[in-house]
Symmetry: C2
Subunit: 108 residues, 2 copies
Amino acid sequence: MGEEFKHLVLVKFKEGAAVEEILKGMENLVSEVEAVKSFEWGQEMEGPEMLTQGFTHAFLMTFENKEAHTAFVGHPKHVEFSATFSAAIDKIVVLDFPAIRAKPPLPA
Amino acid sequence: MGEEFKHLVLVKFKEGAAVEEILKGMENLVSEVEAVKSFEWGQEMEGPEMLTQGFTHAFLMTFENKEAHTAFVGHPKHVEFSATFSAAIDKIVVLDFPAIRAKPPLPA
């Protein structure tokens, strides 16, 4: 088993953004694009601004390896979705990285 | 199976911070505190500032449920580690949220 690759996105949506629609679009996207191995997301609306910095949603996609992530980024459905997504966000952080699993340890 | 709970931390370390030491401290922490079900982290140093906003590390802890997360936050080892950690960071985002898994779907 190779090193998994993560695509992590934190956003704060614009006031009045069609968030439900966008979430649905994202779920469709990841279910349609085979390169995405798993997808989890969540929403926090309660944390103190000092810690959340105003971000409300986290999206985490996992890929088998970096190549699968690259394929996803260039996939026409992703490119199309990104345009809609970008228009709806106030601020964003994106981190792409090989995942190191420290607990539980990976089987040898 | 209940709803898993995530503790997501993004940081930019201070110039000259003892990052290796801190990473080791975090791995010790999560291995010692039983409430932490799994722990993954990663580092991105290549992404464009426009996307990373200067953040370089992502830490993701998973808990069986919100109660386990609360127990972790109040755990003496976590409190102790947090002091060291806080002193080493330039900026941080923390999001705590129930995880929604959209792919693969959870077994019914």
